[in-house]
Symmetry: C2
């Protein structure tokens, strides 16, 4: 395969205007480094020659030469015989390219689809750099901002208002991510043995968190493409639960979106049952191609709603910052529950999220296009190599929820897929009540070429299982120190 | 009062060598901005004239002029008639100077001693800046590092080895602060109704966390100056508890340090009782003037020990990053408990802590001297204005644990102190079993002049209570949204 290239003209556009007040070669090197690091110039791409780039930029040849030298020294550029200067990453980052969590990193070439989370989008480093310049304002304090940086609370409140629920900053607290936020809400809201309605399937960490807290789970059955709303309302009324944990916006794992009218119906049932809606909005901003206006947040239908949000999916998981929006009267209880978990989100992370949300409160258009391309590559390949796989193409969210052909067990497929170099989360991991043995979740969070390869590997794994040739799961060795249930996010 | 000044020679030393590769005026402005932001040049100090500084530094007059202009524009320098150029902070940071947590910030001039935590030390911004340059290595991953950045785990392990417990990186996980780490450990270790031994007094958030988890607390009585070890061993043996939460290194709030031999005695009792030691080492590095070598970490005496550490007290609370050190066999269970709280500490914060620990694994000498000066100012003033107050001067930690004169109630003093412009945490907040009504904790975390003022205000509050003139606590209005129990850290 020929080395991919990026034209001098496109490189010049990616570089943009060089930051003044610094040597031009450094500003150029920084701009190129950012573009490589955040993927706007893909690793393995040949950069324009020094001469070409000098022509496209309004700088001297020496500037380009020195910038390329800086990049070579920092490990962002490699000179390959016959290929010119090729974008690369420092050795340390290649090791971490899979984003794996455990000491036993997947071997080279393994595709990890256990997490529905992707690499950082363009602009993240710049947001960190700007945030650091604001840090001095906070260094004279002890650094505990239990409710959150005031400006960030304002920006989050404004985003709710823009989505259709007027919100004041003092109805928002900043948390250390959505999982942390949900944990705080559940601790504040629930006593031991309380009943909690929860969609089935749902996000596995929510179920683990509820079980650890001693809640009694009442599954709310989902169809593969969404809620059976009259049935859901009946379940809610019959349960008389203390709380219901719902993911109405591009539900994880199904990708389904609860329509505006259906929200009203479900909200009425919850009010009638005295059940507080706890709404996980982690994926709410990951709209890819929904027709027409999005439904308003669930809180617009029930003012008692406690909403949990996060920057992990809309911006980057490495930020680990989220929020809770709740009625003002619920806040003191939430803060008391919070300080037994952590004393506040880190100051800098809050400033970074502030920068990112000011630039783009939800998904950037670039990221939306990337995710669409990855989803479409996965869908196209699956239809070709696994025509018997059942799935709906969601208008948002980060994964396909797929039904395997009759008689093919999802856990066996996940095991066989590992042999093919593909890590997957099987249906039972998303189940509240057992079952979902023929379902798998396929996040489309890696680049289109990788998604195509993943689909091909999955097809081979399905064939192996269908042929009855899969080795039993118990024969696997688990790397030392690796938990029995890998993280699914 | 005359405006304090900083000489040109000292300023030149603070600036150090200008970072090459950038315009000199920018490098100079950055160095001065850092010095003001982190307090090496105190706010309100007159900087040397441009002419003087030009003479002291090997730069042109234009460089100094432009650097001062940059600082003026950024809000770090104010020109005052007759006072020259005076160090200041941007408006936003002055508002946050108290480091307060709640929407109702303490009014101007109020001294907040509810948290035993201080401002960021010198060098923190630089650590953030260096960490951002390493971030690109991680941007191509999903950002979930549930165990922690590998290099940071190594540095933490090395620090344990240096303190006397050989430790491998895979015995360490990075957490979102010590409170989060302790929460993870307790969830992994304890079932509902399990007995837990806990020192009395102790860190209030630990007690809250244990109570929320449904533990049955067995208080281990402390003397004002430390442990009655034979009595403690008896308590441990009689309790037969699942775990014991201990703070043997500069105990919070008493500041006491458990001697090496006493650790061995207590460890034997814990082993005999089948009780797992959970050791809070948050303050272990805050040694101010202990004679001789420090006792080894508790894990050196019992390999079952699970240790919880943090950068909050040794470095800065705004970082919100800590760790758990545990036997390798305990790690999978800890990781499973962890992912129901958060999916990992933020990547950048981990890189910042890595930078800070490489520079200074524990307290920097500068910070140690600052804390000593603050402690000594508090002690000196208390002896003068409140000769009846009982306290031992601890060799480390961040606070004095003080016994009020007979008949003077600590909660009443805290209420009266608020009228004097001093916020305090009274003894009952640190109590496991009720009582401690005559004790208050006085953290010496602010500058010496402020500590002196705080002691004077306390003396007035004590006089008011002793005279029986204090208004009842119930007459206080609590600002809206402020939790009933303020955060104590």
């Amino acid at each position: 395969m020929a080395t991919p290239t990026v034209s001098a003209a496109r490189t010049a556009r990616l570089v943009g205007t060089l930051v003044p007040g610094r040597p031009a070669y450094q500003a150029l090197a920084d701009a190129l480094r950012h573009a490589v690091a955040d993927g706007r110039i893909a690793v393995g791409t040949r950069l324009p020659s020094e001469r070409e780039l000098t022509g496209a930029l309004d700088v001297s040849r020496t500037t380009v030469t020195r910038a390329y030298e800086v990049l070579r020294e920092a490990g962002y550029l490699a000179s390959r015989r016959g290929s010119g200067s090729v974008a690369t990453l420092p050795a340390a980052s290649r090791r971490r390219g899979t984003g794996s969590l455990f000491p036993a990193d997947p071997a080279e070439g393994v595709i990890d689809l256990t997490c529905a989370a992707s690499r950082a989008p363009a602009g993240v480093i710049e947001a960190y750099e700007r945030a650091v310049t604001r840090l001095p304002e906070f260094l004279c304090g002890a650094g505990y901002l239990t409710l959150g940086v005031p400006e960030l609370r304002e920006v989050i409140a404004d985003r709710y208002a823009a989505r259709g629920v007027p919100t004041e900053p003092d109805e928002v607290i900043v948390t250390s991510g959505a999982v942390a936020g949900l944990g705080v809400v559940l601790r504040a809201l629930l006593g031991r043995g309380d009943r909690v309605v929860v969609e089935n399937p749902t996000y596995p960490n929510t179920v683990d968190s509820l079980r650890r807290g001693g809640a009694r789970l009442v599954p709310l059955a989902m169809d593969p493409d969404g809620w059976d709303v009259p049935e859901a309302a009946r379940t809610v009324r019959a349960a008389g639960a203390a709380a219901a944990v719902l993911i109405p916006d591009f539900h994880n794992p199904t990708g389904a979106l609860l329509a505006e009218d259906d929200r009203a119906v479900l909200a009425r049932a919850l009010r009638a049952a005295g059940t507080v809606p706890v709404v996980d909005e982690t994926i709410a901003e990951v709209c890819l191609d929904h027709d027409g206006p999005l439904p308003r947040p669930f809180a617009a239908h029930d003012p008692r709603t406690i909403s949990v949000g996060s920057s992990s999916k809309s911006h980057w998981g490495g930020l680990r910052t989220g929020w809770v929006r709740a009625p003002r009267t619920a806040l003191p209880g939430l803060v008391e529950a919070r300080v037994t978990t952590d004393l506040g989100a880190p100051v800098l992370e809050q400033l970074v999220l502030l920068e990112l949300m000011r630039t783009s409160p939800g998904l950037t258009e670039e990221r939306r296009q990337d995710l669409r391309a990855s989803r479409d590559a996965l869908v196209t390949t699956l239809r070709r190599v696994l025509p018997d796989l059942g799935f709906a193409v969601p208008a948002g969210g980060l994964s396909l929820w797929c039904e395997l052909p009759d008689g093919v067990d999802a856990t066996a497929v996940a095991v066989a897929a590992e042999d093919e170099g593909l890590l997957l989360a099987a249906g039972p991991r998303f189940s509240v009540a057992g079952g979902l043995d023929r379902w798998i979740r396929l996040p489309y969070v890696l680049d289109p070429a990788t998604m195509t390869t993943a689909a091909e590997r999955l097809a081979r794994a399905v064939a192996v299982v269908a042929d009855g040739a899969a080795r039993p799961a118990t024969s696997r060795r688990r790397p030392q120190g690796r938990p029995s249930r890998p993280l699914v996010a």
